[in-house]
Amino acid sequence: MKATAALREVRVTGWVRVCRLEDIPPLGARVVHRDAGDIAVFRNAEDEVFALIDRCPHKGGPLSQGIVHGHKVACPLHGWNIRLEDGCAVAPDIGCAATFPVRVENGEVFLQI
């Protein structure tokens, strides 16, 4: 019964539970595999959670593997800094990674795909 309810929830709202907050290291990230492109789920030092497409707007580097600092992540390939809130590169670099709605409830992380 429970599984069916969760599945229906996903179908209707697009929200899906991905993990517990503590499954993501502070100042770190985890990856959600998806056919339409992986999603990187970040956690900063204040336990805020952000979700971006796991592709740097520069050369497609996996942002989930970068160093998280403040509200930014540094892409591991060439060091572009990408803002976690809106996925956009910090000036003077130009480009944005798509963002996904994400929320934390009772220590559980939900993602809208």
Binding site: P25, I67, P92, I113
Partner: protein, 802 residues
């Protein structure tokens, strides 16, 4: 702020960067223009640039930053008690802090006729326009003053079609920047361009016609010369009129302390109007340094002092390359190195004191000017390089630049940065359009020199030739770690040791980091410094490590990883090779390659597979991904080779077994050769060992990469135990003292090989202590692959299932 010139606006820019909301800012400017690059007035006069080209901050910039800009309003009075300033038109404005940046005024010779029509100074846009106007109407120009400004004015007027004579009081031109030889070369080239010179002539009177316009100049010796335009370029005086009228202490400039504060603590001053430690500066680079310090204090950070500047000069006359810095004349206690090629038109003179560059004059080939200047400012010892110092920084050659070492000779399309594909034209455009002044700015905007850094010298040259004197290389000794702090690497390491800071947050708190948790550049550095200071005690922070060191494999461009298992000394076995082959099959690894360090690289491994790959390989981590000991390359040595005199293979294995798992400021590569034929290429390794009949020679600081550096001879030892101890002690010294991301060669360049010899070779007790500290740090350091194959840090490698 009073004064809307380069120094003042630069201070505001620095202030906005660090404390954007602290002040409501209002700016008074006497000129009707927003902020322009005064240094580039000469190219405007010469018709090489337009006014629009030299604007630094347009009116929109002030609007965007909520700065009220009042142009054409000259401030005439400061009421310090009421903290208000008044402009000539009656506009008044209150202040909490007042910044004076009133610049300087050109000095007018007090001779009869100085007020005649057609007698000008050369200082601002208005003067420049007046000169351009005169050049269209009149023929004969006389420029009084053979200094930098006078020559640039003369050149511009000549290019505008005038017949120009430069009158100079002294024996040779630019006597404050050039020695006689260079000045004569300069005069010859300018004469070839059609300029005329009258040296050792003192102006007595400027003659006028009945209409009140200048008609000529008469000198003390009675001779006369025809002139329809006279430009006075005999010097500048700090503009202290306003400050003096307000009762601020002035002495050939508004006197300020090292924080740019005047005698009224609410009033600061920067730029050409000040006198700091008795010196008034007329060049732009020091003004920027002042701006930075002043902004820091205005922002109430209270860090940073201005300690004066060493200045350099470049003449902006097309086709003439001239550079001068520091004590170019020399004197007792100094030595000159001179290169004088009169036919080729190249003259270079370096002045050295105690093996340090203290001055330089370059004529004809100034490509290395900024490098010499950097050597001067860093007070770096050149004892080891003085025999080839004259041939410049690129004497050894950087790879990837087609042997190119002169920025001026490059065409616009030629590539400067081979990593990011940036042509010279792109850099020049960015510098001009975005108003860039520093190497950091250029890196940010163009990416040039931001990857491997081998083109840094070229980019510096382009900067220097594009912005002229406004470019000053950053002083390495006082360069902060990153934008998050004002502290240098050395200060941070010292604080970590002396105040027992044992975690990244503790270090950031204590050192008052400006960002909540640093950035991708300072966190890995701090992590290493803590690891090095508190071995076996500090808890490594994986989130502060670059992905390669966090995942213990090398990330590739497609997000997959490469795996290089360790083979001590480059020796493997059938069993290991069989396991490697099986792993390649089982995990469908697409590429298997032999590395330059005698290892096998498995490329294209999925991150999720890494722990399983390591488990199946059952070999130790090769650390090919880390700032750590990479490989000890060996030749076969005396065991097989008919020339070998020492057992290099086993020496290499011993070294690698003793030193592997050693994290360092950067990667460390080693090699051991069994005879002087040196098949293991020990001459380009961080530590290279070469077996000779009577023992082992140890070389340090070699590098085969970006810039080929030949390792330098450290010492010769007899036994294998000594090789271990000396190599280990050297590497521990490097670990403890080098800046993060400096290779051994950079470290040695900074401290000098002599210092290292003293502490490693001559001081046996120190050597043993260093080696003991390294062994203590490495003892019990685990093999990261083994741990992860056994299940540690699983979430790093697993994706989330939904």
């Amino acid at each position: 702020m009073v004064g809307n010139g380069m120094a003042g606006v630069r201070t505001l820019e620095e202030l906005l960067k660090i404390a954007p909301d602290l002040y409501e800012i209002a700016v008074f400017g006497a000129e009707p223009h927003a902020n322009y690059n005064r240094i580039l007035l000469s190219p405007v006069l010469a018709g090489e640039m337009t006014l629009a080209d030299i604007m630094l901050n347009d009116v929109d910039w002030y609007v965007r930053n909520n700065i009220r800009l009042m142009l054409g309003k000259k401030v005439v009075r400061i009421d310090r008690r009421a903290q208000r300033v008044f402009a000539a038109d009656g506009t008044a404005e209150g202040y909490d802090r007042l910044l004076l940046a009133t610049g300087s005024n050109p000095f007018m010779l007090p001779v009869p006729g100085k007020d005649l029509e057609g007698v000008l100074t050369y200082r601002d846009i208005q003067d420049t326009n007046a000169m351009i106007g005169a050049s269209k109407q009149y023929r004969h120009a006389v420029v009084i003053g053979g200094g930098l400004l006078g020559l640039e004015a003369a050149n511009g007027l000549k290019l505008r079609g005038m017949n120009v004579t430069v009158v100079h009081l002294m024996e040779w031109l630019m006597e404050r920047q050039l020695d006689r030889t260079a000045a004569q070369l300069l005069q010859q080239s300018l004469e070839a361009k059609g300029l005329q010179f009258l040296l050792q002539k003192q102006t007595a009177e400027i003659l006028g016609n009945v209409g009140g316009r200048v008609r000529g100049v008469r000198f003390k010796d009675g001779s006369e010369i025809v002139a329809d335009l006279v430009v006075m370029a005999v010097g500048i005086r700090p503009n202290t009129e306003l400050a003096e009228s307000a009762g601020l202490y002035c002495n050939r400039g508004i006197v300020v302390n090292d924080t740019m504060q005047t005698y009224d603590p609410k009033i600061y001053a920067v730029g050409e109007c000040i006198s700091h430690r008795g010196i008034a500066y007329g060049l732009v680079a020091p003004l920027f340094e002042m701006g930075k310090v002043c902004a820091n204090h205005l922002a109430r950070f209270g860090i940073g002092r201005y300690a004066g500047s060493v200045t350099s000069t470049k003449l902006k006359v097309a086709g003439i390359d001239l550079f001068s810095a520091g004590d170019f004349a020399g004197g007792p206690g100094t030595e000159d190195i001179v290169l004088n090629d009169t036919v080729g038109g190249v003259y270079k003179k370096l002045v050295l004191r105690d093996n340090r560059v203290v001055g330089a004059v370059l004529y004809g080939d100034t490509g290395d000017g900024s490098w010499y200047f950097q050597l001067m400012r860093d007070r770096q010892s050149v004892a080891e390089s003085r025999d080839h110092l004259m041939f410049g920084r690129n004497h050894l050659g950087n790879t990837g630049h087609q042997g190119q070492s002169k920025a001026v000779a490059m065409s616009e399309e030629m590539e400067v940065c081979g990593c990011n594909g940036v042509p010279k034209g792109g850099i020049v455009r960015a510098i001009k359009e975005k108003g860039l002044f520093t190497l950091e700015d250029v890196r940010k905007h163009t990416k040039a020199s931001s990857s491997c850094g081998s083109c840094t010298g070229l980019v510096e040259q382009i900067l220097a030739s594009t912005v002229g004197g406004a470019y000053a290389p950053q002083l390495a000794a006082t360069k902060p770690m990153c934008g998050c702090t004002d502290h240098t690497h050395e200060e941070v390491r010292k604080a970590i040791r002396e105040h027992r800071l044992t975690s990244i947050p503790a270090a950031m708190r204590f050192l008052e980091w400006r960002t909540p948790n640093g950035c991708a550049s300072c966190r890995p550095a701090l992590n290493f410094y803590l690891l090095c200071a508190w071995p076996r005690e500090y808890r490594d922070d994986p989130q502060s490590r670059f992905i390669n060191e966090r995942a213990h494999a090398n990330i590739q461009k497609d997000g997959s990883f490469s795996v290089v298992p360790r083979m001590f000394g480059g020796v493997t076995s059938a069993a290991e090779l069989r396991r490697i082959a099986d792993v390649v099959d089982k995990y469908k690894i697409p590429t298997v390659k032999v590395t330059g360090g005698q290892r096998i690289d498995l490329l294209g491994v999925k991150k999720e597979d890494l722990p399983k790959v390591w488990k199946d390989l059952d070999m130790p981590s090769g650390h090919a991904y880390a700032k750590a000991l990479r490989t000890v390359k060996t030749c076969v040595g005396s065991e097989w080779c008919r020339f070998g005199v020492q057992d290099s293979t086993n020496m290499g294995i011993e070294l690698e077994k003793a030193l592997w798992r050693m994290y360092a400021p950067h990667k460390v590569k080693m090699a051991v050769s069994g005879c002087p034929r040196n098949c293991a290429e020990s001459g380009v390794k961080d530590v290279g060992v070469i077996g000779v009949d009577s023992g082992w020679e140890i070389y340090v600081g070699g590098n085969g990469g970006i810039k080929t550096e030949v390792a330098q001879f450290l010492c010769k030892v007899k036994t294998r135990e000594e090789v271990l101890e000396y190599a280990g002690a050297f590497l521990q010294l490097y670990r403890e003292e080098a800046r993060y991301l400096d290779r051994t060669v950079h470290y040695i360049q900074r401290v000098g090989l002599d210092t290292i010899k003293k502490r490693i070779v001559e001081d046996a007790a120190n050597r043993k202590a260093l080696y003991a500290r390294l062994r203590y740090a490495l003892e019990g350091e685990p093999d990261p692959w083994k741990e992860r194959a056994a299940g540690e840090d699983r979430r790093e490698f697993e994706a989330l299932a939904v």
